[in-house]
Assembly symmetry: D4
Homo-oligomer: 175 residues x 8
């Protein structure tokens, strides 16, 4: 078993797609986290509704190009993740974006409530960091190196909370 | 100006699509109403997620085949209407179906909250009859015969309510 | 078949109505888009609740004046589109406006959940641009010139997304 | 000051309107309660959307005919109460009916979220009995006899709960 | 029949209560509108939960003091209107205030969903002006003078919208 | 420290109140669980809205009578728990009941969203068993015997799930 | 019976936990109110999801360390209160925090809708002051001194509202 | 690369956990679909709240036992998936179950709205079949045999819809 992320540094294995370039600020955490895990990724703006042809071409070619997990972020009637999932058997992670008046409820429902046969692995509204970690977890099922990095990440996360705990107690004069 | 529905009785000008054959009972009113208006229509089951290829082929060919209005019904993360709207400039009427645990709210949001540039003309949850009437109204903008039938329909509808009013008063002994 | 929008430049064929003049900023996109398509339109402030008489007069005379599609925007218990739809057989497009504490959910429900027989073609909350495009699509069912402009618009929209895709990749140093 | 309900037994002072005759079972409590208070009422089926003309005629004539309070029940995009309120200065009581897939939320929002200037006195979803009592309370502001009956009703209601309390304790063997 | 508002200028006939003094800015429209109609009113801060004794004393004495309509505004689990309605047979108008994280939905449900026997005449979220107009409409059922002022108000309101219509058309260069 | 529940078997220390006797079936689990813990309780039907006087008398006297925890169940605009909490400093546990068209959302919001100063300890919609356990937990803060029974209950609960786990595996032939 | 809060000033009897240190500003009222009641408390940041080990260790040791009530605040899929409640029989008070795009609805549901057997005493969204008062009420069931302080607090609260009432009337020139 | 599911038929690589045995009927589709894909799985009933110890033991040992994907189904304040995700770096798929009065909205929010760092791959309410397919997609990123079966499954699914399309047209006499 090889370390997928490390062995081919230039060939992306995760695709991060957004329905609009205005989603980029909310997707920044995702890109940073993938980089932190050393996972090679690509980024693109593809709209399920405004560029259906490109969405189709992307989804049908992704696997051949070596992509193993797709992350798709969209707001409103968020169809991007679902459209991609309809065209590939790769795992598709959906990130509902809170860009409309309905503050993400529409995107959440449109992303998660997929019909039997075509799942989208949905994370929380605007939860782009979690999309990256989920992608890492999926890849780590066959990448022991990445798996170790995930375990280290989890430990660091616990330490960070513990540190905040100490700091808060000091600030409140409770310790 | 010709009567679109009457002049080519066998060539459908409205397409009624459902995401699942289980939506048929809820779409029956739509078919009956189109028939009542003498509008030639076709019916098909096309899933945006399970048969994306057929959805694509349908949408790109519909106009050439003479279709002038598309009605698309789907439940859950209801993408059918949106997928079709992304592939054609024909008016697409969306009918959100209440088939999931969220009783149609998911389908309503996924149908109506389309991004700028790709509208879906959404009617109420399960409101398949209204989809038919809206299709008729759209066609009637260029079909004076159908326009007259719509006016007559509206008058009959008012009469039917008036009759119910009389009947209710009689039954309650108020008249 | 003639180009409806171009042939009579001064005679409006689309009416854009708002329940309140405070809705104008949200409806600006609608007016700009109609203009972009070369569709002659008129604008008015008519309140279903505060000027019911004018709403009635407008709806019953619209058709005679040559109006072929009505766009109605309102917030809260948004009845404007429904009231107009009850009085005409012209297609009525409803734009729910997010002006209340319930951020548009009330307007969405009040616009889309019409009773059998009286449809309103509802677009997303505050989605005034889509109302214009839907009006264009409806008119284009009998206007090949407008139809071509819609196809061109769709192509430009796809190109714009593709451009943003290139720009985003350059900015992220991914290309 | 005279007893409005008793003095002219045949001239209705309260109008109970429904958007559809299918709302009658849910409005039965309203009619029974008005009768219990001795308030002369009339009942009719008028649809804001299917019979806008009759709604208009009713609202503009109601006051002249001696109607002093209007009760309007409707489901879905429930516009009936709002349409009537736009045409009269009589108090209009709205009863949202849970007849759609959205189980009355749509009717509640469409009834209560009226724009500044045109109130509808909204009661709970399907709460037709409360509409009758509210009508009685409004009339009782100028009818001491009815006022006394309301006080007696309130006392009986308290007694009924107290009785149920006794019965429940007996049944549970707690007394 | 006497003009209730004008005949005893100093004796309030409408009580405007708020659950918290922080609701005052949202209730300003209510007070201004009552003043505009020449209705004598009083204002107080009474919390159903923090001053239950004062709520009780107020409600049981209101009628004797000549109050004929109560307006109660509260946010969150808005019980003020309901508590007062449980203690008096006067009409109680409830104004749900959007002061919590749930932006008024909690207040709306807590105000409108009263049990059978104890209605609250609910207006829209933060719709304090409508509470005043509804109070005027209720009082006007027995006050022809006030009734005339309501009719004049309705006419002015329609004129104001018509003026805005003219202004908007001029600004857009459409007239 | 004494065992509150066991030492005075006849003097109730928990009051279980319902807004309506129709809530009894949903509150059965609460009564059974209190009995299972050997906690002396009383049951009553008191409506915040229909019997405000009895609610007041109950709340102000409860403490003197030895009541230490109050459980209040109500549906719709569920004010019972809040009204009691406004009148006593005893802990009040609220059980929102799903009796209305809004299936308990109204009751949940009306119970939990109390203003600063007057908390209601809210459990889930219809979660009457949890109200009993919470009451037991509160009493157990000063009752070591009851505390032991709670620990035993928690252990039995875990065992019951473990048993179901075994049974399910056997039934599926997975063990 | 001893005054729990006063007798061991340095040994905390209430634990206030937050899922994230970013919740501190919203929990400030809770800490201040506990201090106002003279209740010894401790504060910590423990994440159910990021530091599950610490959550487990805390919950299983809390009782032995003398903690008698736990207050747990968290946003999003707020599991902190539930996780603690699953590991202890101490009363756990949950404070849903409005930190996500769903403005606290997610936290409210995730906190209050606990399964049978494991209650969380839920207060309103962001209602941290009420969590402190509820903790005081629970402790006061066995602490007459604290009980008196709660009564005094309730009286002061009523006085404060009465004062605001006077001030508001003066400011409006109504007194 | 080996076919994970086929090579060790008896060693489960997917764990399907339910919060309650009453969730089994809704999870049947999941088990059947895993079997259809030839994926070895285990089933268990583990409650995050009633058996936290077993949840902890399961999550910390799962990876060592060869489990590569966890599927967790729960209703109400559905914490099971989140608790497991907090204790392992394996991908955890969450299935919100519609078992409460809030018909799955509570479970959806409690499952999907996880904090940064701890994702749960959420599928639709009651969408247990999609959980199985998503598990297969995840495993297939490193199992070409399973990957082929997924492609075949997708093709069969499209064929099934096409067949239904033919059958529906025949039944409607449209072909």
């Amino acid at each position: 078993m090889t370390d997928a992320g490390a062995s081919k540094p230039n060939a992306p294995i995760v695709s991060v797609l957004m329905g609009s370039d205005s989603d980029l600020p909310k997707m920044k955490d995702c890109l940073d986290t993938l980089a932190e895990f050393g996972i090679a990724f690509e980024v693109d703006v593809i709209s399920a509704h405004r560029t259906p042809g490109r969405a189709h071409d992307f989804a049908t070619a992704a696997e051949q190009r070596g992509i193993r997990v797709i992350i798709a972020a969209a707001g409103g009637a968020a169809h991007l993740a679902g459209v991609l999932a309809s065209l590939t058997t790769l795992p598709v992670i959906g990130v509902p974006i809170s860009s409309s008046a309905l503050h993400g409820l529409d995107a959440l429902y449109a992303t998660v409530q997929m019909p039997p046969g075509v799942p989208v692995a949905t994370v929380g509204v605007d939860a782009s960091k979690n999309a990256a970690i989920l992608a890492a977890q999926i890849l780590a099922t066959a990448d022991s190196n990445l798996h170790d990095r995930l375990k280290a990440y989890k430990a660091r996360m616990a330490d960070a909370v513990a540190e905040k705990s100490q700091k808060l107690k000091r600030n409140l004069g409770l310790q």
